[in-house]
Amino acid sequence: MPHIPLLSVSIFLPLLGALVLLVLRTQGRVLAFALGIGTTALTVVATALIWMRGVPGGFAQVEELRWIPSLGAAYRVGVDGISLPLVLLTALLFLVAMIYSAKVTDQPGSFVALLLLLETACLGSFLALDLLLFYVFFELTLVGMYFIIAGWGHEGSKKAALTFFIYTLVGSLFLLLAFLALYLNAAPHTFDMRVLLAHPPLTGTAAALTFWGLFLAFAIKTPLFPFHTWLPAAHTEAPTAGSVILAGVMLKLGGYGFIRFSLQMTPDAFRQFAPYVMGLALFSALYGALAALGQTDIKRLVAYTSVNHMGYMVFGVGAAALTTTGSAFGLDGAVLQMVSHGIVTSCLFLLVGALQDRTKTREMDQLGGLAQAYPLLSGLFMLAAFASLGLPALAHFPAEFQIFLGGYEVAPVMTALLLLGLLITTALYLRAIQRVFLGEAPTMALPPADLSGRELWAIVPLIILIVGLGLYPEALLRVIHATQQVLGHE
């Protein structure tokens, strides 16, 4: 085992599965999903082995291959305490999404192949240690998601998919320019992220411009107000698995980017502009919550809470940028928030998907009293909703607590305002639960079946993690914190 390149195996296992599917040219549902579930399950095992092998702090388990040495580019992958939780989350959510989707009958072979390609791209982004390699995987996520939304989404999916693609492509193209600025200013020129992290090459105006280039890319991806406009349509029109991956994994690429590139490669510029970033994050969090409050479509409601939660996350990163000597609560919390949001929101999207399959509508006005018809579905939704609004002992609480703690140290007024977001989300979730699950049942005929085995296999692991992470966040925090220490945030 010590000689197996586990990182590359994790990245390329899904791609291998996709290629097998392409060669078989099968559109048979059972074979396609058997292959898909098998591949994603193996990937979970591979990432778990990475965790077991240990991540002491700095980049570990590095794998390298030569490629264009004269350009300073190469195939380099490695893992640290910031990327590991996200890698575990990614592997898990793809398995869950694959299981949940096993009912897809429209060209299942292509669907599974695209999901697998997307998994390779997401894992590759989190594990890349080379700017170019990161960029390649980062862009591939767009291609995979574009086809998933456009091909298997709901009514207005083509427009939503193209909007999503163009928005995020614009962002990532600015990312490319920022990367080139980092590359051109490093001496000698290199795309090696470890070198750029150890010695951030930019100063002055160049650093400021690069910072805003990176900011634009990650603000669109995360998304922060006012760059979030692609999100509600994309989330709502995507098939359930697409929403899960989009919210659970791809938004995290934005957060990861803020930490890995903005914070670590242009630290001085980030410190300089942190008040603006935090202000925008604060506004975004409140705006997301208020917008969610105004929704009548329950899937859009969950989508807008993502804007809210990602606002907290960016706020935490901003607080960490301002902290020069103090504690690393903000950053610890931000990483933990990404993981918990991934789990909780994915769980909510799965449950909304199950709800829509049964009632054929997402309009809350047409629903009501579903707790009687579907006690299990309703109970789990309420639990996930409570987690999402930040109830103690559930997943979001420890993350948000740390973010608020970290924020309070550097910006007490903004943090106090940020707390308003918690109140609004509590209100909106309670209202949604009341409108959908309590009260009188609608008159329409509903299929009697509660959650099926397939749905439970996808949802229950997430529920377990919601409770587990709420009660024992230390399991992940230990890994995250070890890296913060290496980074000098103690």
């Binding site: 264009i68 004269s70 591939l140 083509k158 600015f174 490319l176 051109l184």
Partner: protein, 458 residues
């Protein structure tokens, strides 16, 4: 201005070009004897041999014939890119024009035109620029008119008229350069104290002539009509071979032209912006895929200018070469699929589901044209952006980047038709002929593999 060596050595240095010339003449002989297959075979073997010879001496850097012909990176790679592309275009022509009268002349003309582009790419002398340009455009006129249809004749006429006027302007402008430098050698442009206005005048005239061959805005007027009227195989050729020849020739000039007297990099940067934006905006409205690709070549012409802005930078010429290789592969591939599928967007409806691999290949070519990694077009554009930024033209890179996003909207119209059109539409096209399969396969391999192979360009 000492001669590089003996005549024999000079001839050895231009061996690939001589082989191409010989091949073109042999192909003509084959046509006279009405041996159609033999013509095609001759071209494949001859251009293949030229490619192999060039590949074997990438390390050679010299000049031939008293410095008038440059045997360098641009020259070697022009052979390595254009000769295989010309063979692929001949294969497409075989599939498209088989059995038509004068079929064999197409192969011969393609070879002559390619030779012209190779001469442009190796020019160290103004007269060779003129010679190369005339060779590519004269054979181009004949090729464009091949179809003898109304649209074909109109397109060829436009190509001819714009071509003769712009070439005349080029020759007129170059005559001033000869006048002020007292030499036809490009290297003479480096002399100190040349009068700036005349230097600028010559440069603008040169841009007019080469810009026309390269479909660069605002000299692109002929492009959509000519490509639409010409056979698809000829359109593929016209959009790739003369263009790359012209840009390599322009690079040879820019390498010798000091930017102290005239700020020509700024001129090129502004032209690049105009060409990229104009091509994209007009391509957005096309429903004919050939016209869409025609405006897309105007866009890509703008990208070709990015490395020329900072041509003396270490990465500029490799960037130009990599982008040219990527462009040749993805553009030829896209035209090959148009030849097989049809010219209108309606012909592409549901292609992705009826012909899975053809649809996938087209998607790869289009995404590569947008510049999505890890495809060839991305690697090319990455290097272009890098060389523009290294030259201090970050704003140009920003505009180019925004245009890439616009390009996505252009090419995604074809992708949407292929995958997400409502059921119905045309029946599945028949399985592609072996010629098309070969071309698409070769272009696909290059488009997918160039990123990994990029290290060999440095």
């Amino acid at each position: 201005m000492s001669s590089g060596g003996s005549m024999a050595q000079d001839l050895r240095l231009v061996l690939p070009q001589l082989i191409v010339l010989l091949t073109a003449m042999l192909a003509l002989v084959a046509e006279m004897l009405r041996w159609r297959r033999a013509g095609l075979t001759t071209v494949a073997v001859g251009l293949g041999a030229a490619t192999v010879v060039s590949a074997g001496r990438l390390a050679v850097h010299a000049t031939a014939f008293s410095g008038t012909f440059r045997v360098d990176l641009l020259n070697h790679w022009s052979v390595l890119i254009l000769c295989p592309t010309a063979v692929l275009c001949c294969l497409l022509a075989r599939q498209e024009l088989r059995g038509t009268p004068r079929e064999g002349t197409v192969y011969s003309l393609l070879c002559f035109g390619t030779l012209g582009a190779l001469v442009l790419a190796g020019s160290g002398d103004m007269m060779l620029l003129v010679l190369g340009l005339l060779m590519t455009s004269l054979s181009g006129f004949a090729l464009a008119a091949y179809a003898k249809t109304e649209a074909g004749t109109e397109g060829a006429l436009k190509y001819f008229i714009y071509g003769t006027v712009t070439t005349a302007i080029l020759i007129f402008g170059l005559s001033y350069w000869v006048g002020i430098t007292g030499s036809t050698l490009l290297s003479a442009l480096g002399q100190p104290n040349l009068p700036a206005p005349l230097l600028a005048f010559g440069f603008v005239a040169l841009l007019t002539g080469l810009g026309y061959a390269a479909s660069l805005f605002p000299f692109h007027f002929w492009t959509p009509d000519t490509l639409e009227g010409a056979p698809v195989s000829v359109a593929a050729y016209l959009s790739v071979v003369p263009k790359i020849g012209a840009f390599f020739g322009l690079a040879q000039v820019c390498r010798s032209l000091p930017s102290t007297a005239v700020d020509w990099p700024l001129v090129l940067a502004l032209l690049a912006v105009a060409s990229m934006t104009f091509g994209n905006v007009l391509a957005l409205r096309q429903t004919n895929v050939v016209r869409l690709l025609a405006y897309s070549t105007v866009t890509q012409a703008g990208y070709f200018l990015l490395p020329l802005v900072g041509v003396r930078g270490a990465m500029a010429l490799p960037a130009l070469v990599v982008f040219a290789a990527a462009y040749a592969a993805m553009n030829t591939g896209a035209f090959a699929i148009v030849l097989h599928t049809g010219r209108t967007l309606a012909d592409f409806k549901r292609l992705g589901t009826t012909r899975i691999f053809t649809g996938l290949a087209m998607t790869v070519f289009l995404f590569s044209l947008v510049g999505i990694p890890p495809l060839a077009g991305f690697t090319g554009k990455l290097l272009l952006f890098e060389s523009a930024m290294a030259a201090g033209y970050t704003w140009l890179a920003v505009v180019a980047v925004l245009n890439s996003a616009l390009a996505l909207a252009v090419y995604s119209r074809v992708i949407v038709a292929m995958y997400f059109a409502a059921p119905g539409g045309p029946a599945a096209p028949p399985a592609p002929a072996w010629e098309i399969r070969t071309v698409v396969g070769a272009c696909l391999l290059a488009t997918l593999g160039l990123t990994l192979a990029a290290q060999f360009f440095f």
